[in-house]
């Protein structure tokens, strides 16, 4: 993913010249918004799990990566010798749906086998188990798919005329718009579900107080499963979207993306879904603007430094609330 971004987006930017920067700004905003949408989708998975179990689902990055692989696999199946066998929109929808379905199920499996047995255990054990899941999934994919990146044959999917177009100075690509739109739709759907449906209400109650929720007749276990399903599915969708955008996926992308998603979640205030959306977009914008100032090799450092600063100075995030420890 990192390579993809670098070569795809920033072939020209090296100067720190202010004029150059101002010229680049609108383009960077668009790029940042795309990246931000992806980060937001990943961050939601972290924040939902954290909100309900107060645990850091370390394996979420790998689920994102597997989402990318599933998307690639579906695309690979649906592209024949002379282009896609189905309509483009159908292909992309199928990629997303199948990737979301598979990663959702994977999320449930991870919860069932690695986290549920530890529900009452100290938090450190949970985190270590999550670390184990992460390493396991990563190396499972490495073993199964090899270390080489898989390429999304986007060129045969979308006609040349649609791929890139320019509005003024800013270059849009079809995929960029697709990513923004899909991310926006998914987040709207999630917001609606949480705010307006019965399940959403139950989820909010469980996140507030898991014990009280269970006393009020909410099947807490089912809520947790549900949270893993939705969070992982969104992570899987992000994986596929990034695959379409940067046209490649490999076994190692989950690690970085996971850290970025977590950074976004913390930036917005972990446990807060809207915070995660906001934090994702903010981080995307920050990163893409920062690339005009720093050499591209140090781009990731930006996210890490943001993460460290936020956690040290405002661990409850930009939108979260400080809760004093009860003694």
């Amino acid at each position: 993913m990192i390579h993809g971004i670098r070569t795809f987006l920033y072939p020209a930017c090296s100067g720190n010249d202010m004029d150059f920067y101002l010229q680049q700004l609108p383009q960077q905003l668009v790029n940042g918004l795309t990246l931000g949408g992806v980060y937001a989708l990943i961050a939601i998975g972290y924040t939902m799990v954290y909100g309900i179990l107060s645990m850091l689902n370390f394996a979420h990055g790998e689920i994102y990566m597997i989402g990318g692989f599933v998307g690639w696999w579906v695309l690979h199946l649906l592209i024949g010798e002379s282009g896609p066998v189905l309509h483009v929109s159908l292909v992309i929808s199928l990629m997303l749906i199948i990737a979301m379905g598979m990663t959702g199920l994977l999320g449930i499996a991870v919860e069932r086998f690695a986290y549920r047995p530890l529900r009452k255990a100290p938090r450190m054990n949970l985190l270590l188990s999550a670390l184990g899941v992460s390493i396991f999934l990563q190396n499972l994919v490495l073993h199964h798919q090899g270390a080489k990146a898989r390429f999304f044959l986007v060129s045969s999917l979308i006609p040349e005329s649609l791929r890139l177009f320019q509005v003024g100075e800013v270059v849009f690509s079809f995929m960029r718009i697709l990513v923004i739109v899909v991310a926006f739709l998914l987040m709207t759907g999630l917001t609606f579900m949480i705010k307006r449906t019965k399940v959403g209400k139950a989820m909010r109650a469980t996140a507030q107080d898991i014990e009280a929720a269970s006393f009020m007749g909410i099947d807490v276990d089912r809520m947790i499963v549900f949270v893993f399903l939705i969070g992982s599915a969104l992570g899987g969708a992000a994986g596929t979207l990034v695959g379409l955008l940067f046209t490649q996926v490999d076994y190692y992308v989950g690690f970085q993306a996971g850290l970025k998603g977590f950074t976004a979640a913390v930036l917005g205030g972990i446990g807060n879904i809207y915070g995660a959306m906001f934090g994702g977009i903010l981080l995307g914008l920050l990163e893409s603007i920062a690339t005009t100032f720093f050499p591209a090799t140090y781009k990731d450092v930006v996210a890490f430094v943001v993460l460290i600063l936020v956690l040290i100075f405002r661990p409850w995030g930009l939108m979260g609330e400080k809760v004093p420890e009860k003694v």
Partner: protein, 633 residues
């Protein structure tokens, strides 16, 4: 156990196997000789150089795992930047003894130098991430590890510092006092000698004030702080200690491999080291050593399944956390001596210890001469206010506590009693107002400083160090009275030994005030196995072991049955009358309040609504209203 340990009130309570200790020391010496012989012989038994290298790597892994065991095992800090310290140690060796910068320092200088520099990095990381706990600490340290790796990869331009992807290689051969260390056998000796040093050091530090302080932090950080452990400093020491060992291991590793490159210090390596520590059981030195040996050698037998290696490590973590989070060796009986069960008689029937633990005769004795309430004030609160974002939990509270006085604080739930305790003990700094102890301003001091100055507390909802033994719980409290640093602990300097004896003496003395309930075989029992009432007693004994003058007891009789309540009531009185403590107590049982109090204050909605003798307060109209509600006119 020194001669002073046998005097004093703890005399009859000493562990019965004093003779056994001498025997076990001989056993220990035998053990050392055996280990020494093994270490001399084993390298010569290796079939070829390949296995000799594995043997050497195993020693490095033992050191690494034990270093991580200091941070993650002893102190419970999930440090995911650990592998970066290993890397720093390695690269430092590359900088200091190769043609890369053309610096050629001798190895006996490079080894401590790079360990110390790495330790400095450990301090720095600790200082930055001090306020973080659990998951947040893990993720921040992981981010640091990632930055470190990015730097390793990219700092070959514009100036070549790290050598980029290819790393640095071809180092000076190392030489120690004239002996050239070149052959794998020589390396094996060097590595395993240092590994042995680390193992012994681990044992020494674990059974010291440092080890107890870390364990207390791991069990309950807030309680540790409230018992006088300088948690900030101890966490820094944990990071630094781990980093020191990792730095030394890294230096050895670099020299052993004759090269360093970024991929030796990546996330996978970290997971391998974590697996070793967890497999052996966090904090369990023997276990971690065996875990490191097992996981270094086992993959060699499973070479044909090499591709599955990392998957296997992932599975180890998941399965162990679910089934045996204490590790393979944790809490296994065969390594520890079988305890006799003095709580059972010959027929195996449980003996209940119902004897009173305070001295009945001394209770009947008249109060010590000169005791009267109007002595000098020991604790003063001036208009102390605590505002939790709009909720005023304590509202302009003023009170004066005189020496050797028992002052009870009563009030309905949510009246701000416990918050007042938290303000005095420094857990929250008050929003405004002043707290004075013996005339000095202690407002805004940290809890451990408050303990050091002479105020100790208990917790309403019991915050014992559950996995630590009863004796160790009390010993933790002496942390702020002892000053030995890591050097005197590791070298067993006289200062450390004197302090250890003193610590043991005080802890046993305080526990013995509670008679058979906290002494004898119970010294070695885990706090979690005590009955509820005994846990309350241990809370008090633990607070007293800090050598405090002022005890703050938060509902000492909560959850006790009527007889136990009577006992604890008498005991609290004895604390004042016989041992001269000043006591501030929160209590709901009014008969207890009536019996023990010299004075009573009533709080409601954070304000003081009444003050005076029990009778005055109990008949105060506002107090009755606060408890029962206003009468309908």
């Amino acid at each position: 156990m020194g001669p002073d340990g046998r005097e004093g009130p703890g005399k009859s309570l000493m562990r019965p196997e004093i003779a056994g200790i001498a025997w076990s020391q001989r056993q220990k010496a035998m053990g050392f000789v055996l280990i020494g012989i093994t270490l001399v012989i084993v390298p010569h038994l290796m079939p070829n150089n390949y296995w000799l290298r594995i043997y050497g790597m195993t020693g490095i892994y033992v050191m690494l795992a034990l270093g991580l065991n200091v941070v993650a095992g002893f102190a419970g800090l999930l440090d995911l930047a650990y592998v970066a310290f290993f890397g720093i140690g390695g690269y430092l060796f590359a900088f200091f003894s190769s043609h890369h910068f053309d610096i050629h320092l001798p190895f006996p200088l490079v080894l401590p130098l790079s360990a110390l520099v790495t330790m400095g990095f450990g301090f720095a990381l600790g200082a930055v991430s001090l306020r973080l706990k659990g998951d947040y600490l893990a993720i921040v340290t992981l981010a640091f590890a990632q930055i470190f790796k990015l730097l390793l990869f990219n700092l070959d331009r514009p100036v070549n510092i790290t050598g980029g992807v290819n790393g640095i290689f071809n180092f000076d051969p190392i030489e120690i006092f004239g002996f050239k260390i070149v052959s794998p056998i020589a390396y094996s000796y060097l590595i395993w000698f240092l590994a042995l040093v680390v193992i012994i050091g681990s044992f020494r530090i674990k059974r010291s004030r440092f080890g107890r302080g870390w364990e207390a932090i791991r069990e309950d950080e807030l309680a540790a702080e409230a018992m006088g452990v300088n948690t900030t400093r101890m966490k820094l020491w944990a990071f630094a200690g781990g980093a020191f060992i990792a730095g030394a291991s890294g230096t050895l590793f670099a020299s052993f491999q004759d090269s360093v490159f970024p991929n030796s210090f990546d996330f996978q390596q970290l997971v391998v080291i974590y697996c070793m520590v967890i497999l052996g059981g966090m904090g369990n030195i023997v276990g971690v050593t065996l875990g490191a040996i097992l996981l270094s050698i086992l993959p060699e037998f499973l070479r044909e399944y090499g591709a599955y290696r990392m998957m296997f490590y992932g599975l180890i973590l998941i399965v162990l956390m679910a089934l045996r989070p204490q590790g393979l060796l944790g809490e296994i009986g065969f390594l520890t001596k079988k305890m006799k069960r003095p709580d059972k008689d010959e027929t195996g029937v449980l003996k209940a210890s119902t004897d009173l633990y305070y001295d009945v005769d001394s209770m009947k004795a008249p109060r010590k001469a000169g005791y009267s309430i109007d002595r000098r004030p020991i604790l003063e609160l001036n208009n102390v206010t605590m505002n939790f974002g709009g909720l005023v939990a304590v509202d302009h509270l003023s009170l004066t506590l005189r020496e050797r006085e028992i002052l009870s604080v009563i009030g309905p739930n949510g009246a701000g009693k416990t918050t007042a305790f938290n303000l005095i003990s420094g857990i929250y700094p008050p929003t405004s107002g002043k707290v004075l102890f013996e005339g000095t301003n202690i407002t805004g001091l940290k809890p451990h400083q408050v303990v050091e100055i002479g105020i100790a507390r208990t917790f309403q909802n019991l915050r014992l160090f559950n996995k630590m033994s009863v004796l160790d719980n009390a010993k933790v409290s002496q942390f702020c009275r002892t000053k030995s640093g890591p050097l005197s602990i590791l070298l067993r300097l006289p200062r450390h030994r004197t302090e250890e004896r003193e610590t043991e003496k005080v802890a046993k003395e305080m526990l013995s005030l509670f008679g058979a309930r906290l002494t004898g075989y119970r010294f070695d029992q885990g706090a979690m196995f005590l009955s509820y009432a005994n846990r309350r007693r241990l809370e008090i004994a633990r607070a007293m072991s800090t050598n405090a003058k002022l005890l703050m007891l938060d509902e000492p009789s909560a959850g006790m049955n009527p007889q136990e309540t009577v006992e604890i009531t008498e005991f609290i009185k004895a604390l004042r009358d016989i041992y001269g403590y000043t006591i501030l107590v929160i209590e709901h049982k009014l008969n207890v309040v009536k019996t023990i109090s010299d004075r009573v204050i009533a709080l409601d909605y954070g304000r003081k609504i009444a003050e005076g003798s029990y009778e005055e307060v109990a008949s105060n109209k506002q107090v009755i209203e606060a408890y029962l509600g206003r009468k309908k006119n």
